[in-house]
């Protein structure tokens, strides 16, 4: 119907013998000061916090009802007073101490359960059944039982914290182990690694992103469980924790101090997350390229 398309014209070959880079101009350019400042993580985060604080302050002043919403500055003043002259530092220390004990016990137990689960099939069944049963059970619901068994005091708190940490950490660690690639396993076996050495040198580091997220979830569960449990009872009024501090001040209608207690809870959460976990992440999974 139509003529066949004409052949393309024959063109000479081109070969660049020398590549001068003189005219290209800008190959590399330093970032501007603004770009560099906004590239820093903590600068952006602090900015967000400042904006939130300003909004709070504005709303508090507009409402002008310190019993309901004390403005930010008032809460900060109360926080300062309670820390320097009041019992807040003591209370915080008590809470953190119980938390560390409970968290450590929970993680250790999780390690035992996961070790069982990777080495035997019965262990796997045991872990998955127990996790399915207890993971959805709110730890605080066990508090009455714990009080019955261990009485008022640290053991009861440790018991509920262990319950809140154990299943989250064990579940994540186990699924992390299952996700380790076959090639990596074979490479490890190829070196002659077996048993506990295989778990320690190959499975644990390879599953570290999952283990770390389990530890983070476990930490958050533990912290909120502890504060909730302390709200219910204060161990004894002299050595109560942060939760008790909040409860006490609510009873005295000192709303600013209640907010100060809450702020302390939040600050500790932020510090653990952004100092401890962030640094662990930076030194491990990010450095290894397993996480962005």
């Amino acid at each position: 119907m139509t003529d066949p398309r004409p052949l393309p014209p024959l063109r000479p070959e081109i070969e660049n013998r020398s590549l001068a880079s003189g005219q290209i101009g800008e190959v590399k350019r330093p970032l501007s000061a603004w770009e560099r400042v906004t590239n820093i993580d903590w600068v952006r985060r602090i900015t967000i916090l400042l904006i939130l604080a300003a909004a709070w302050e504005g709303y508090g002043r507009y409402l002008n009802n310190p019993l309901m919403v004390p403005p930010f500055s008032m809460v900060m003043e109360s926080l300062w007073q309670a820390t320097v002259n009041g019992p807040l530092a003591d209370r915080t220390f008590t809470s953190v101490r119980v938390l560390v004990i409970g968290y450590a016990c929970g993680v250790a137990l999780a390690a035992v359960f996961t070790a069982l689960a990777v080495s035997t099939r019965v262990g796997t069944d045991l872990l998955s059944t127990l996790t399915a049963m207890f993971n959805p059970l709110p730890a605080i619901a066990l508090l009455p039982i714990a009080l019955l068994w261990f009485g008022l005091g640290i053991p009861s708190l440790v018991f509920v914290i262990v319950h809140s940490v154990l299943w989250a950490v064990a579940l994540n660690t186990h699924s992390g182990f299952l996700a380790v690639s076959e090639t990596m396993r074979m490479a490890g076996q190829n070196y002659g690694l077996k048993g506990i050495r295989f778990v320690a040198f190959v499975l644990m580091p390879a599953a570290f992103p999952a283990i770390l997220s389990g530890l983070k979830i476990g930490w958050a569960f533990a912290w909120r469980t502890l504060i909730a449990a302390e709200l219910v009872f204060g161990v004894s009024s002299r050595s109560g924790g942060l939760g008790w501090f909040i409860f006490e001040n609510r009873n005295q209608l000192d709303t600013a101090a209640v907010f100060a207690g809450l702020t302390a809870v939040i600050i500790i959460g932020l510090v653990v997350e952004s100092v401890i976990f962030r640094n662990v992440e930076r030194k491990t999974v990010r450095r290894w390229g397993m996480q962005r």
């Binding site: 690639s181 090639t183 074979m186 190829n190 070196y191 580091p205 390879a206 397993m290």
Partner: protein, 281 residues
């Protein structure tokens, strides 16, 4: 460069030595969710010291499974595999494996630590010696500049080089390579093949190499075991020690390539039973 790669192997001028690896009538099976698959059926071959022994075949001929058997990751249901006279019983660092996947390096270790690690855990070498060996092996594969870098910062070819360095530093009885260049681009693959031949020139290690590329088999192998698919059986065992990249495209090279191609293609026709176009419908 590769002058001696074309030299006649010692076995033709001297009485044949005791083989390093003897595989006799090995049948390997593995289970999938629904089936028990026979990957290889009564496969026998001998690998001698300093052989570049290639297992060649189409996918499904059980060549990778066979390599896993030699690696000790699978037990044969029948037959025996002996390395230096000892039956193979489980994986071990005397048979270092280079896998096809790039994720075989441990991401939490630097290049140097990755190479060092198997020497450390197998306690084959003293600490100071292991360190020297690791650095020398990294130097040899041309990654001296990258020795303190983590694997995620390397390209695929560089990762494979590290895996090869890691295996060679261990000085295993036999080096097992499971299509190590299959996932590389053509240019890098060719470069890596040349490097492997050069390394072999330097140290004359023994390597068992799995590939599905006829060309790669002829270039890299000194001896080629051609396997047929479903299940894998030995079709032929051929010599290819006289060929390197320089002979590629030459008459003898092409003839061998065609011969192997015909062997595998003939099997293809047999497997399908009827020629194309003679179907029922």
């Amino acid at each position: 460069m590769n002058d001696t790669a074309t030299a006649t192997p010692a076995s033709t001028t001297q009485p044949p030595s005791e083989p390093l690896l003897r595989v006799e009538d090995v049948t390997l099976q593995y289970k999938t969710a629904e089936h028990l698959v026979t990957a290889t059926y009564r496969v026998s071959f001998d690998v001698h010291s300093a052989d570049r022994f290639v297992l060649l075949g189409p996918s499904g001929c059980g060549k990778s499974t066979l390599l896993k058997g030699v690696g000790g990751f699978m037990k044969p249901v029948e037959g025996s595999m002996r390395l230096r006279g000892r039956p193979i019983d489980g994986p071990g660092p005397d048979r270092m494996m280079v896998f096809q996947e790039f994720d075989q390096l441990m991401p939490w270790k630097t290049v140097r630590e990755n190479v060092l690690f198997p020497m450390k855990v197998s306690r084959k070498f003293a600490a100071a010696e292991a360190n020297d060996r690791a650095l020398a092996a990294i130097e040899k594969v041309g990654l001296a500049k990258f020795r303190d870098v983590f694997p995620h910062m390397l390209s695929g070819g560089m990762k494979q080089r590290v895996a090869i360095a890691r295996a060679m530093a261990m000085e295993p009885d036999i080096l097992l390579m499971d299509e190590p260049y299959a996932a590389l681009d053509a240019l890098t693959r060719r470069q890596m093949q040349e490097e492997l031949l050069q390394l072999w020139e330097d140290t004359r290690f023994t390597v068992l190499f799995v590939t599905h590329s006829i060309e790669e088999a002829i270039i890299l192998g000194s001896r080629i075991l051609v396997l047929s698919p479903h299940p894998g059986r030995v079709k032929a065992e051929l010599n290819a020690h006289q060929f390197t990249h320089r002979e590629q495209g030459g008459e003898a090279f092409m003839a061998l390539q065609r011969r192997i191609h015909d062997m595998l293609f003939a099997e293809c026709l047999e497997a399908h039973g009827t020629p194309r176009g003679a179907g029922h419908d």
